[in-house]
Amino acid sequence: MATQLAVDSHARYFRICLSGLPHQMTSLDAARMTFVQLCLVGLTALGKLDEVCSAEEKKQMIEWIYGQQVLGDGTELSAAYCGFRGGSLFGPHDLCDYVAANSANVAGTYSALCALLLLGDDLSRVDRPAIVEALRCLQQDSGCFAPHPGTTERDPRFIYCACAISAILGDWSGVDKDAAVKYIVSCCNPDGGMTQAPFQESHGGHLYCCVASLALMGRLDAIPDQQRTLKWALQRQNCGYQGRVNKPADSCYSFWVGAAVELLGGHDLVDAAAVSAFLVQCETRFGGIAKFPDEFPDPLHAALGVVGFAFCNPDGFPRMSPTLLLPESLVDRLDIKAARRSNNGE
């Protein structure tokens, strides 16, 4: 018999997290939007969102998400700060003499747009021109992106967010694709993996961001040796997937590496039973999936674990897009062309 996931327990877990998180998770306060998105991704991937959240609750969540939007005021000074904040600890919206006090973040914007779509919103209240302009401001000469103004952080996570935002909005005018592709190619390590910057160690999370960005831009062909990259990704499987060479398997890489394998056309080459068995070991008794067996769960590992499990057991679950963490049915309906599998070489 095929390995089963404790679907109802996990649905309950995500529902509880949407209602509240304990103080030990204060370190997630600036990324609450991402955790909202992840809980909704988990419920969607389990096929349980409509069962667990009423229409009224969805409306309330949509309002909270729009409450985090930093709108453009038409001035050049504020342009780069627009989009969605990571949560409500910033601000306030109208009273900041110091504009950086209420800064959006490309990760917040990406998560908010995905969460809104999962909740059935039509994005009609999204300040599209402001978001596109912010992306334009945040792209660097190297082709890489900063997450928000005032930081020296730049890596493929933010390229991915910029690409996902552009694909969802159907407007790529905020991204210089050639420059972004050039940066990603510079992150290809000779071992076949991909990194956060040239010469750094290959890493499954950055591999995902690089490969998914290229897929969204329709530029997977830019990878110097796709076969070698596919091999590096498949080599990460030791039962579940590890994120780096000689590290233990970790449930979240069942998505990061698993999705990259899907995008590189390797779906049929995975030992799906072994990945599934590992994820079941990471399940916790009262719902949720932990990073490693016998640890406490968190929404990130739970949601990515569920999606990774669904890649390996496609019959039991709604099909999720490996590029956008959205169901493929939604991607098709919205006509987000680049996110469809058919455009990704399958």
Binding site: Q24, C39, E153, K291
Partner: protein, 355 residues
Amino acid sequence: MVRIVDSELDQEDLPSPLPMSEQEEWSDVVPIPQDDGRHPVCPIAYKDDYREMTDYFRAIMAAGEVSQRAFDLAGRVIDANAAHYTAWVYRKKLLLDLGLDISSELDWVSRISERHIKNYQLWHHRGALLELLLDPKGIADKTQDERMQIPAIRRELQFVGEVIDKDSKNFHAWSHRQFVVRLYGIWDQEMAYVETQINQDVRNNSAWNQRYFVLTANQPADVFVLTDDVADKEIAYVMDKIKLAPNNESPWSYIVGLLMRHAPNMLYERLLPSINALAAADEYALAVSSTPFFWSALVDIYEEQAKALAGAEQQQAEVMAFASEACESLATKYDPIRAKYWEYRKQTLKTASAC
């Protein structure tokens, strides 16, 4: 990625036991409570001190107050929630606007770092501070030895070294180490450091990656040429490490990756004889020939060799047959978890040789 941090404050940063609302120093500030809407999603059950601290922090940051107390409060907020991205931006702005001592700020980062050692913002703040503290242009005429004596550089390498001593695969620490080595051009000592790390743990892939960095990044892009001498030295080094632990992916993928990128012909001209000799040596034959990395390297090497034999059909077919056998061994014996991949690879070999 997710860290559960119960904030503990440094001794010297300990807040007075009084709530901020009862402290004279803050009496002129009207705190701005969090506006979480009528129906918050994923609300966090904050501790009282965090809630109050962020209420005051919102008020002074919104006003853009430039003061020592604002700087200190930003630090407390960061220590309680190191992913607070605007607090880092504000702290750096205040540091510059107030003209505070950069060196002391690096010390502060060191003090809080243990609690936030996998936080991206902390490492980037550190990198930005270092550039402010010591302009690489100012030391351009110094020798490597002289540079290594500069206190800022010594302190930085010591800090990163201590982090790596505690967690030898800390991704951020290795990344920062590359940043420091490159920024100040201190390449001479780095290979010795890499070797110490590999000697401590031959499976530390971060250290193997740093070896590639030191070998190839010390010059403008596209200038690095892998000479025969260097290749031989690297092959010998890798063989020694494979002897210690044959079933260790790092040295195999290091040497195959290095040669494939910079001198593919050396894969079959120089690496192949070495690994075949190792696999034939009584002492290592069994261990080496039962690791999937040996067979996987053979597939890559033979495939590369077959490409070079275009035109010499018979020899090419022979080499392809070796590659195919290696795939077969991997699928059936040495790497069963990737059986489907090796079957697929075997098929693609056939297609390639038919072209």
